[in-house]
């Protein structure tokens, strides 16, 4: 470690303070200050941001060490070790609430101080690392636009990202043990409940689509098994596919519109071909006796071809009905123009 560990001593007895200072230097630490009162201790800690504070509980002045220690720890999360001759249960109870990193009873020896300091500093580093890890995970979880959460086997939320918190209506991402997913919230999450049962039963990933008002989601559930049932987790992901769905719908509408256009063209074309045939037939019957039969044969051939086009048209009507029935099976899904056209006219 390049930089020395900096410690503040809070002690109203000058001799004890000096003794501690010598001791700490001997361990290789730097003493950034000595305070005699609680108020001074807070001011020093704010100025120097030390790595640790050794805090006497019984101080001269209005503020005692526990109050000062609690303040310093909560403001800057600096670890506190209490050093005191008093150890009544009441004092210990008060001290505990400030989550101290150690508690040393006077009279102390050098070894006790050194051990307490080393353990406190090491624990503090672990805590900082854990906090940093949590921060990293949170950054990662919030970096994806999908709403994600982790449930335990009792459907309690263990973790979730901000997007999911918003969906669930939580204003804080910090979730406590009593938060079961409110499955019927605004109609959302309703299908989730049965799917969770499904995945707990089969263990196979589950994927389904869910529509909530004007939004579409692809919901994925993955079971992360632990050493036993209790420790298994369910990962839940809500992926927004609204744009994709809208595009798909537009394509379907366009496809059907195109088929309708083709159908119309067939009708017009067939009518246009049959009119001259009718005219030719009429003229031939009027005054062409020699080749009448042959010309009629040719006319009937053309008419046969047109009839085949007619059948093609019937086929495309079939295709359209098929599309309406199978692709747009959800009535909500049918674009307005088509649902109106289809409404009740087909017998």
């Amino acid at each position: 470690m390049t930089e020395k560990i900096r410690i503040i001593i809070v002690e109203d007895e000058a001799l004890v303070a000096e003794d501690l200072k010598e001791m700490l230097r001997g361990f290789g630490y730097e003493v950034s200050g000595i305070a005699k009162t609680g108020e001074k201790a807070i001011a020093l800690a704010g100025e120097h941001h030390p790595d640790l504070v050794l805090m006497d509980i019984n101080l001269s002045g209005a503020m005692d060490g526990i109050t000062a220690g609690g303040e310093i720890h909560s403001r800057w999360s600096i670890p506190i070790i209490y050093v005191t001759a008093f150890a009544t249960q009441a004092i210990i109870d008060r001290a505990k609430k400030t989550t101290p990193s150690g508690y040393i009873l006077k009279p102390f020896n050098e070894r006790q101080i050194q051990t307490a300091l080393e353990i406190a500093l090491y624990n503090h580093e672990l805590e900082e690392q854990a906090k940093e890890n949590e921060r990293t995970i949170r950054i990662l979880a919030n970096a994806i636009p999908d709403a994600v959460m982790l449930l335990d086997h009792n459907r309690q939320i263990i973790a979730l990202n901000d997007a999911m918190a918003r969906r669930l209506g939580y204003n804080h991402t910090q979730v406590h043990g009593d938060s079961t997913v409110r499955f019927n919230r605004d109609g959302m999450f309703t299908p989730l409940e049965s799917r969770i049962s499904e995945i707990l039963c089969s263990g196979r990933p589950v994927r389904f689509e869910e529509k909530n008002q004007n939004e579409w989601f692809e919901v994925s559930l993955i079971l992360i098994s632990g050493s036993d049932e209790q420790s298994s987790r369910i990962f839940v992901q809500y992926h927004d596919i609204t744009d994709h769905k809208r595009f798909e719908e537009a394509l379907k509408t366009e496809g059907i519109t195109q088929i309708e256009k083709n159908m119309e063209q067939f009708q017009t074309l067939n009518d246009q071909i049959r009119n001259p045939l009718q005219a030719i037939m009429g003229y031939v019957n009027l005054d062409c006796h020699q080749y009448r039969e042959r010309i009629m044969g040719q006319i009937m051939q053309i008419d046969g071809l047109v009839s085949r086009l007619d059948r093609g048209w019937v086929e495309s009507r079939k295709v359209k009905r098929f599309l309406l029935r199978h692709y747009l099976d959800n009535p909500d899904d049918v674009p307005d123009s088509i649902s109106q056209e289809n409404g009740g006219r087909c017998s």
Binding site: Q267, T268, N270, D271, Q272, I273, R274, N275, P276, L277, Q278, A279, I280, M281, G282, Y283, N285, L286, I299, D303, V306, S307, D310, R311, W313, V314, R317, R345, C346, S347
Partner: protein, 203 residues
């Protein structure tokens, strides 16, 4: 000899108008041809033909629109109409309009042959008209009468298409048997003579 029957031809194709007119006159009809739906309605304001031959695919007013207008205009509401067109009908066409027309004929067709059948259609229509008046005078339910006329036309048109078209997509979707049972029931209830149902053109 009675007066010549008048046939109105509504078609936007000049050649069709010419041919139809020639054949109609050869077969003893008085004929008049107009180029579209609007002209047809205009002509009907002053004239009353005995039969109307109506094309479907016309601009700007198509045949179905024209048909509805003919039926809604009281002086022409009872005139028999035959659709003659290059468009094959759909089941929806039949359901919607089959009860308003005497026949649906797909071009090209031997016009000489169908011309002969028009006399019978006109004659049948006159018989039917007399029977309708009789039934009305008897004070029968007018709704039954309306339904009877609609079913009479629809079943006749469907049966004709069934016989003539190779592709029966449209007519096969009509529940003909059920309609005919209902028609028979109405026929007996209203006391129509059997000959009004027996004949249809192009057998």
């Amino acid at each position: 000899m009675q007066l010549m029957d008048t046939v109105l031809v509504v078609d936007d194709e000049p050649a069709i108008r010419e041919i139809f007119t020639v054949y109609l006159e050869m077969n003893g009809y008085k004929s008049h041809a107009v180029t579209g739906g609007r002209e047809c309605l205009l002509w009907l304001k002053t004239q009353k033909p005995d039969l109307i031959l109506l094309d479907l695919m016309m601009e700007p007013m198509d045949g179905w629109e024209t048909l509805l207008a003919i039926r809604q205009y009281p002086p022409s509401s009872q005139i028999p109409v035959i659709i003659i067109t290059g468009k094959t009908p759909t089941a929806e066409d039949l359901v919607q309009y089959g009860g308003l027309i005497e026949d649906f004929i797909v071009k090209p067709v031997d016009f000489k042959m169908i011309c002969e059948s028009f006399h019978r259609i006109i004659e049948n229509d006159r018989d039917l008209g007399r029977e309708i008046d009789r039934v009305k005078n008897e004070g029968q339910d007018p709704e039954f009468l309306t339904e009877y006329i609609r079913l009479l036309r629809l079943t006749s048109v469907t049966n004709n298409l069934k016989k003539r078209l190779k592709d029966r997509q449209c007519s096969d979707q009509i529940p003909l048997k059920k309609l005919e049972e209902r028609l028979q029931w109405l026929h007996e209830k209203l006391g129509f003579p059997d000959q009004v149902r027996s004949s249809s053109p192009l057998h």
